[in-house]
Structures are given as structure tokens and as C-alpha cells.
């Protein structure tokens, strides 16, 4: 199952891409569905896809032990996650679990990196968006940490 260009245009992450660039995403992505309590990936898993949440609800967290999951946050529709798939060593820094029936767009990270090499402007734009996602996640985590430290 594939999304159309018009459907991609409704997702915030794809703002400011032209139709040709959106076609690249369509060519290297697929839609994946998850049920409640499905684990999309565990912390320290090797990742091959970068995801964008289309519909549903996902929790993100870290594990202290196999049985001890700490939920740090939830993801919003249109948000990118699993960014570790794009960067070496491609190891996830958190786990992600579906908390309701969920659909995600799974973009093949290896193919995405190859597209970056073919089209540097596309690569720079996409890496900038991914960096912004990571920056926001880091800032939010610092904010969360400050809240806990000042309890």
C-alpha cells in the first residue's frame, strides 16, 4: 500500500518538498500497520526504516531492564521517529510501542541515504528536517529533566 503525492502533502514533515521529491519518498516507502501493544522496535535494536506516524498513537520510552519500561513521551500524527535508522550505527535510542491501532509510513533508510547522494539538495533538506526533529526531542527531554529535578 502506497500513499499518493496529495496525501503526503497533508503530512507536516513533507512541507516544502516538490512533487518530484515526494515521488522519491513514495518509491522507497510503504505503509505498516500495528495493533495495540505491538512493539515497533526495542531500545538498541538495529533499525532499517525511518517512520512517520500517519494515524494512531505511539508511546516512546527507555528500558531499565527487560521488564521495566519507562514511558517518556507520546508521538503525534505527522511526527518523524526512528531517526537512528538514517545514521550509523543505526541503533535505536528508545523503544516505541503502539497504544492504539496505528499506521505508519516506513521509509527505507538505506535507499533514502542513496537518494541523498543522488540529489544533494533533497538530502540537505531532509537531513535538516531530521536534525530539527532530534533537536526538539533533545530540548523536550532537557525540559522534562529540569521538571523532574525541580520536583
Amino acid at each position: 500500500m502506497k500513499l499518493t503525492i496529495d496525501e503526503l502533502k497533508n503530512i507536516r514533515f513533507f512541507d516544502n518538498y516538490n512533487d518530484e521529491q515526494l515521488k522519491i519518498f513514495i518509491g522507497i516507502s510503504s505503509i505498516k500497520e500495528f495493533r495495540v501493544k505491538d512493539i515497533l522496535f526495542e531500545q538498541y535494536d538495529e533499525l532499517s526504516d525511518v517512520y512517520i506516524l500517519l494515524v494512531g498513537c505511539l508511546s516512546l520510552g527507555i528500558s531499565l531492564a527487560k521488564e521495566k519500561r519507562i514511558r517518556l513521551g507520546t508521538l503525534e500524527e505527522g511526527q518523524l521517529f526512528s531517526w537512528s535508522a538514517v545514521f550509523s550505527p543505526h541503533i535505536s535510542t528508545a523503544w516505541v510501542m503502539a497504544t492504539c491501532p496505528t499506521k505508519v509510513l516506513a521509509i527505507d533508510a538505506k535507499k533514502l541515504n542513496l537518494e541523498f547522494e543522488k540529489d544533494c539538495e533533497f538530502g540537505f533538506k531532509t537531513m535538516s528536517k531530521i536534525a530539527q526533529t532530534i533537536s526538539h526531542r533533545l530540548s523536550d527531554t532537557r525540559f522534562q529533566l529540569m521538571n523532574q529535578l525541580t520536583l
Partner: protein, 274 residues
């Protein structure tokens, strides 16, 4: 409405109800002996006989003059005593003081409100005021974060706002419990959820200093200009009249020149987030 005989003399107000909002937060419903009006965002000095006085921003509608609601977090000597008060006693009110929200300048715009913790108290008053002028606004979005679900005050407010035309309300918690199905994360994570036309909007930030700092930074990253962001500053307001200097922040007396400032006005002040 200052007492014209003695600017420091409070107006008597009867405590008619005390509402438990959370473990540490209560709302006090007061009926002043004289009609009492304020502009949303202004603050008052509330006193308890023989105990002391502290500044609070009303959480009730500025359109209602017969009664006043003050939401108080138990944080110190005066507020701890207030939390023990029962309906029937009299308290003192001085004010209102300072500069509130310039809501007339919000006409024709989208209003984004980012709040955290006890900051929802003044925000509730602002929301009441905005509901009164909703025909003149494009939309109002509230993004609010509390530490835990139990710390979230005014829970019915969110459902009511979400069923009010032009209003959207979202909330999140830093730490969820097993019964919580909503968003988890700090208040700024809710900004990933909303759709807003930043060029035609204003943002209001109100909450603890940490939240105000991170919230303002994120709004600037999103593209808000310095003069589009309104901050409600909570400093050590004491006299309320710009005389005692307790609330000085650089060149400003927060009690007189604020407590509402644009970020543009105070961004260079090193004490802004203290």
C-alpha cells in the same frame, strides 16, 4: 478598583467556597463587599488577617464582578494557611494591579496559549475573556502540561473548550499513570499536534519559569516574532504599586509595568527566567 482613601487598605471579601483542584491547589471563591473588576492578566494582593499577603492573578472571568476566584498552590507560609481556611471567613483584596493581556490586539488573529502547572489559573481567566470575544478571533488553541494526571487542574475545562466553537484544548503530562491514555511529555510536545497560521497569530506563555523558557524558545523556533509572544511574569510582587522594588526586573517593575510583557520588551533582561 483601588480603595481611594488608602491605596494599601484592602477591600473585605467573604470566602464563600473552597474547591479542591489537586493535592496542592485549591480555588477560593470570594465575594467582595464592593463590586470588583479587573482586566484579565492583572493581579491582586490577597491577604489573610494576622498572617500576611500574597499576589495572585484571578482565575475567574473578568466579565463577572460579583465574585472572584483565586487559585492558590500551597507553596509557603501564607498559602499554607489559606489552604486551611473554611468558607465564611473574610479575606482582604487589594488591586487590581499591573498590565494585563491586550486582548483587543488579538482581534482577527489565532491565539496560541502555552501553559504549565499552576499557570493554568491566569490562563483560565484569559480563556473566559477570549470566549467573550470569540466572534472577533480566528481560533484559540490551548496546550497545557502538568507533571502528573493528578496535578492537572480544571479538568472539565478541557472538554468544555473542545466543544466550544473556535477553541481547541490539548493537555499532556510529564509522567503518566496506568489510567492515563493521553499525551505524555512536556507542554512543548503538544506544539507538534496543532495547526496554526503563525504569521497571523499571537502566543501567550504562562507557567513555571522553566516552562516559560523552553516554551518561548520553541515558539521562536516555530517562527514567532519576539513581539508576538506574551509572557505573564511571576515575580515577587509585594506593594503592587511600583514602590517597594521587590519585583524589579531590570528597568521594569513587574507589578506596575507587567506582569504581562511581550518577549520583545524583556528579552535582554538576564533575570527573565529566574
Amino acid at each position: 478598583m483601588l480603595n481611594d482613601k488608602n491605596i494599601y487598605k484592602p477591600i473585605r471579601a467573604k470566602l464563600t467556597d473552597v474547591i479542591d483542584e489537586s493535592q496542592l491547589i485549591k480555588t477560593f471563591v470570594l465575594v467582595p463587599e464592593d463590586k470588583f473588576s479587573f482586566k484579565t492578566g492583572q493581579f491582586i494582593e490577597l491577604s489573610v488577617d494576622g498572617i500576611g499577603e500574597a499576589p495572585f492573578t484571578p482565575s475567574s472571568s473578568p466579565l463577572v464582578t460579583e465574585k472572584l476566584e483565586i487559585t492558590v498552590m500551597k507553596t509557603g507560609y501564607v498559602t499554607e494557611y489559606m489552604h486551611m481556611l473554611k468558607p465564611g471567613v473574610y479575606m482582604g483584596i487589594r488591586g487590581p494591579y499591573g498590565r494585563g493581556y491586550p486582548i483587543e490586539s488579538f482581534f482577527g488573529k489565532e491565539v496560541l496559549i502555552l501553559g504549565g502547572g499552576c499557570g493554568l489559573a491566569p490562563i483560565r481567566s484569559l480563556l473566559y475573556a477570549l470566549e467573550g470575544i470569540k466572534d472577533k478571533l480566528v481560533k484559540v488553541i490551548l496546550c497545557y502540561g502538568s507533571k502528573t494526571p493528578a496535578d492537572c487542574i480544571y479538568k472539565p475545562l478541557f472538554d468544555r473548550l473542545n466543544s466550544t466553537e473556535k477553541f481547541e484544548a490539548y493537555r499532556t503530562v510529564d509522567k503518566a499513570d496506568e489510567n492515563w491514555n493521553g499525551s505524555v511529555g512536556v507542554a512543548t510536545t503538544l506544539l507538534n499536534k496543532i495547526k496554526i497560521n503563525i504569521e497571523n497569530s499571537v502566543a501567550v506563555v504562562c507557567g513555571p519559569p522553566i516552562m516559560m523558557k523552553f516554551g518561548t524558545i520553541r515558539l521562536l523556533e516555530l517562527g514567532y516574532k519576539d513581539d508576538q509572544i506574551y509572557l505573564s511574569m511571576e515575580k515577587n510582587m509585594s506593594c503592587g504599586l511600583g514602590k517597594c522594588g521587590h519585583c524589579m526586573m531590570g528597568e521594569f517593575f513587574v507589578c506596575k509595568d507587567g506582569p504581562v510583557f511581550t518577549y520583545d520588551e524583556i528579552k535582554h533582561n538576564p533575570e527573565i527566567w529566574k
